[in-house]
Symmetry: D2
Subunit: 413 residues, 4 copies
Amino acid sequence: MSANQPKKKIVLAYSGGLDTSCILVWLIEQGYDVIAFTADVGQDDDFEAAKQKALSLGAIKYVCLDLRRDFVDNYIFPAVQADAIYEDRYLLGTALARPCIASGIIRVASEEGASHVSHGATGKGNDQIRFELASYALCPQVEVVSPWRLPEFYERFAGRQALTPRRTISALPVTPKSPWSMDGNLMHISYESGILEDPKVEAPQDLCTMTKSPAEAPDQAVRISIRFEQGIPVKVKNLTTGEEITGSLELYTYLNKIGGEHGIGRVDIVENRFIGMKSRGVYETPAGTILRQAHIDIEVLTMDRELRRIKQRLALDFGEQVYRGFWFSPECKFLRDCIKRSQERVSGTVQLSLFKGGVHVTARDSEFSLYNQELVSMDVQGNYEPRDAEGFIRINALRLREYHRLQGDLDQS
Amino acid sequence: MSANQPKKKIVLAYSGGLDTSCILVWLIEQGYDVIAFTADVGQDDDFEAAKQKALSLGAIKYVCLDLRRDFVDNYIFPAVQADAIYEDRYLLGTALARPCIASGIIRVASEEGASHVSHGATGKGNDQIRFELASYALCPQVEVVSPWRLPEFYERFAGRQALTPRRTISALPVTPKSPWSMDGNLMHISYESGILEDPKVEAPQDLCTMTKSPAEAPDQAVRISIRFEQGIPVKVKNLTTGEEITGSLELYTYLNKIGGEHGIGRVDIVENRFIGMKSRGVYETPAGTILRQAHIDIEVLTMDRELRRIKQRLALDFGEQVYRGFWFSPECKFLRDCIKRSQERVSGTVQLSLFKGGVHVTARDSEFSLYNQELVSMDVQGNYEPRDAEGFIRINALRLREYHRLQGDLDQS
Amino acid sequence: MSANQPKKKIVLAYSGGLDTSCILVWLIEQGYDVIAFTADVGQDDDFEAAKQKALSLGAIKYVCLDLRRDFVDNYIFPAVQADAIYEDRYLLGTALARPCIASGIIRVASEEGASHVSHGATGKGNDQIRFELASYALCPQVEVVSPWRLPEFYERFAGRQALTPRRTISALPVTPKSPWSMDGNLMHISYESGILEDPKVEAPQDLCTMTKSPAEAPDQAVRISIRFEQGIPVKVKNLTTGEEITGSLELYTYLNKIGGEHGIGRVDIVENRFIGMKSRGVYETPAGTILRQAHIDIEVLTMDRELRRIKQRLALDFGEQVYRGFWFSPECKFLRDCIKRSQERVSGTVQLSLFKGGVHVTARDSEFSLYNQELVSMDVQGNYEPRDAEGFIRINALRLREYHRLQGDLDQS
Amino acid sequence: MSANQPKKKIVLAYSGGLDTSCILVWLIEQGYDVIAFTADVGQDDDFEAAKQKALSLGAIKYVCLDLRRDFVDNYIFPAVQADAIYEDRYLLGTALARPCIASGIIRVASEEGASHVSHGATGKGNDQIRFELASYALCPQVEVVSPWRLPEFYERFAGRQALTPRRTISALPVTPKSPWSMDGNLMHISYESGILEDPKVEAPQDLCTMTKSPAEAPDQAVRISIRFEQGIPVKVKNLTTGEEITGSLELYTYLNKIGGEHGIGRVDIVENRFIGMKSRGVYETPAGTILRQAHIDIEVLTMDRELRRIKQRLALDFGEQVYRGFWFSPECKFLRDCIKRSQERVSGTVQLSLFKGGVHVTARDSEFSLYNQELVSMDVQGNYEPRDAEGFIRINALRLREYHRLQGDLDQS
């Protein structure tokens, strides 16, 4: 940049940690006016300290947006409606937060007249993709600066280990790093890299911080009920203490708390990154784990079987889209709309017991229940004619019998 | 049947219990020569007693086939390969046993020259369908007698409750019935009907018999490893005691034992029957629950991401086919072949901890691992060029930017 | 029915033809008060004659509803939006008409206080299912009388051939039957059974009546344009003559006319009935064939690629649901809603040429086009950086290279 | 490259045309030893002239492989088995040829000890992706040089238009270019760019070269039969002339010839490139169009309905994989294996008529036909009990009636 040009403004997704502090300083060196931005999505950070550090390192402004309720209402709850899960195990805690954060940073960039945005996600991970796809989708003309993909940056800061004893930027504090990286928000904490990189070595016992280990969880189960309306949790009741919690953020936080106490929601998995490599991570997602079980239960009770078969397949696609960073895409918006449509009558109450890491659904009820106790009863006939089943079976068998007759053996040989 | 005609032979799936004893006697009344048949699929029954009862009630023969290893090898393990699950929760323990049993009864019918088969499944359930579709598929000309769908039978024995004080067939023992029905085999025990029919009432604490309740399970986790080859478990090692178990039936039984001790595999669900009604059931599936978690883990480690996406969707179809009784169908045979093909390199060892109802995967390793530690590492670059991700993201964003530019807003409004 | 009881009212789907006339008389014999009902869905029938015949045969009332516009707007056009097709070839002309007709008959039954409905569909076909599922779905308590499934009826009228020389009901006219059966409506005419039953024998040259044969079609193509809004055709323009047609029924009828003249839309296929058997049919669907090609064209132009991939799979399900008679089901209603949602911006104009049985799309334009001529041009760079493709490809290759390195050969051996 | 280093060998996919001649010269300028490689996949090129030109421009060697039969047997026919089609219209002629060609170039590179490969595909298209993904998958360590993505190349040769009057490389011949680009092989010719870039302008009448226009096609239809074995065409018979053609390449070429004469297989479409932009192309695929119709017909006759539903969805995925260049991927190999498995009994003969651009199936027969004429007949009952349909319908309606009763209206409102 020439000295006479006005400096370019850039909004940096800033955590207050070492990596993004390095980036902040580096961006200033490159001639940007840096606005440090923190999205409060429930992570356990000291935003005031982040502000002070950002300004002391030379940011022209620090902006913190409280996006917690936005995150719960507009990202987590649609995923609850979808029963979203990636590769059978990952509840998408980070993947859901990224578009929320990106939406915030684009808003700030727009308000501050910044043409550029930047972030500290690495060049091998999913988050760079999620962050940038969301940014481009919301603001096609935005310029993204991704220092961890720039040799002039990453060769200087050579690998995360090298960040620890940092001499090149003297303003940076020297703090010892834990031997893994973590990322947390309201929904979950994820742990990866460092000593976790070897998938055949167990994760350390003291890794998790959001949940107790099942072994240390209380010896008494806690019993709760969750009320859903149109697939959205609207009330949690602690059946042991009688507490009732309403409000999306409030009940989600509450479920995190009791879920965490009871050791709910830890998984240790290998997953497939969008970038094409497999990685190993440990996740703890207490409220998300509880809500998924509860939602499935009320959904099966109130939703037509065939509708749910279709919805289940859409949700599989949805989980993959979210994982890959396509939240703000025509297809993901479409799926959210379809899934929302499917939830019109997914209302009711599920009763659960939380114990030593386990979520156990014990009962459920709904004003839209499609369960017909008389119809299903073994003791009364209900409005049902057993003879009908004969024809049903015989017609279903027609194709199988013809196949056998004409093309032969179906045995499993 | 006229007196001069030779009597028709019928093979009855006979458990020794009240229902099928009623049917046995009734079939004799209808003029059949009845061969009582029991398939040993691991249920906890006294086959010698069943034999004695059948013969004393008038059966011309009693045949018991030990199908336990067949059940494990040819029905349960293909489901393990598929990670099969119905409606996100049911591991298909009954649905997998039915075609195995039906295959046995058709074999006996063929050997004994019987033109008819019969069973005691009710007219509202799935098992009648599973039993009969399998029978027709394997032997298109077989005649099935399903007494619970015949008014002349069920009006006489009016509902299961009426079976208790039974006067009409004096040879039958009068035993008090439990206030629910259960069905067990090697893979699981299911409980339904009676007091379980109200889905908003919790199941009794003492219902389950195959597993301890998590609360009563040991305070010490047990640690095991499971070795898979081509998606099939071939060895279980108890890392606490050092025991090693091989052999399909042996290791499956062992996993049931330790899984049961640690309270693994209970679910209380509402499900959608093929017949079109919702029903409530409680299932306990200890080994199946452990194997599903372990198999998913080794599968994600060794299988290509995109191949697994396809396989996952096939498995969803497979679970529905099995549930609906289409095991012996061209489409299910096809899916089993496809899924088996997908498992060629799903070999390796998974380490797990079982504790208070929870199955926790802790580590995994494989000679076919597609996990590349150097590639994924945050500390070394590996054979990876971060700049490539830039292009990857920008090309993926192209479509999203165009969409925004031409058709507008993707925000979630 | 006892003499003193009021007679039960039944609404019969009545065509005026031999089969339903037989049924009308038979129902009267069974003691019903019969209301003969004809839905005008564009079939080439003489409704006044049908009325006279029905009343002369003893019907207490004759009702004819003009459902043509309803059929086009609420059944055909949603199928156009879906690009619906069954087994790659059948455009669902009969399957779409059945729920429309059933909806009409249920409306009449409700207005007339009739508890029963009846129809002339045979016991081997799809239409009985479509008719009855729709009826039960719209009016769960309705009673359906399906004479062709009742031995007391069909043994008397033994097979369709026997209907020709009919002595048992003297009031019935004796008309020679054509050696196949046909069913027509606005959307198509289908031909099946009789001499068409052998799939290896060609259909007669003079079978079709709605379309000219391609050989006899004009030697000059006609050129038209079709304007869609939200996936719905709203205007057809004959580019040769300058005619413009608007109005759903009007333009559909017009497309039938010119499509028919130009030999558009004949297929001779084997298909899989829901009942489980394969059947052979010949269909002619002029307007439907044109609209499907035109709609696909405008859809690809205006719809995001990934959204369309999802929509395409939903449409596959939709086609199967419609074929199987589940129009009025929660899942089909859901799919219609989803597909409608997908069409929000599917507006634009497609230009086509119709010639000797062929529909040739030649050009298209849209105000919501996602086609960006500058971006795609080989001559200008547009807002595109070729280097980005490098990274895109290399990241997509990452997984493939790893696979090769770790698990080996992908050659097709 | 330093003067003392041995020069790097590169294999260039060389057509003899202007673009790849430019690249050839440029690669030599960059210091490579260039081996010019042509894959004969049936394009209409003069390979001897290409050889002379390559050598005269400085290539150290020219290699031409005749891959025509390989292309038909191992690429086109698996696509025929799949009924493969992209976005409902494109038969994948180019997409199928690319992996075949890439496989050839990798073979030559291996034999010649070349570490690099190069091609003339542009930076906006699909072919660069197909070519390179295949190359990387087959030979992970290969280095790809893609000049059209390198600014030092494309800025010099600025856009395809600039290639015409070329002064910078004097050895190159100056030939006027047609105002579009075309790419041909055995399977099809594709036309795009230039004056075709505006999708609302009709393509020129004289564009196509492989097929006559329907208007100019003979006034007499030709009638043929095609015999399939396991989904593969093995014999074509001209029913008019009596000719019989066997041999994969021979029959495919024959179908191209008569298909071309009768104007079969032209489409003018907009499609979605993998890169994320929409493009417009005109394709002519005579044999492919005929075979797809014929194969669908024999497949429906011989394949179980439900198996085909699964196969149809796999084929949808397969078409997308092929289009996107993932032929040599674990998932595409898997799908090819699954689809091949589905074809075990897809054998039989289909009779067709080709006329003025239309392919009309008229009859079919198979030793594995699942069509049962007696069963489906309207005139005889066959082994079928109409009453069974009653139960079938009523059980299918159960869910719909319950839904209506409990959650209400299914009308389309």
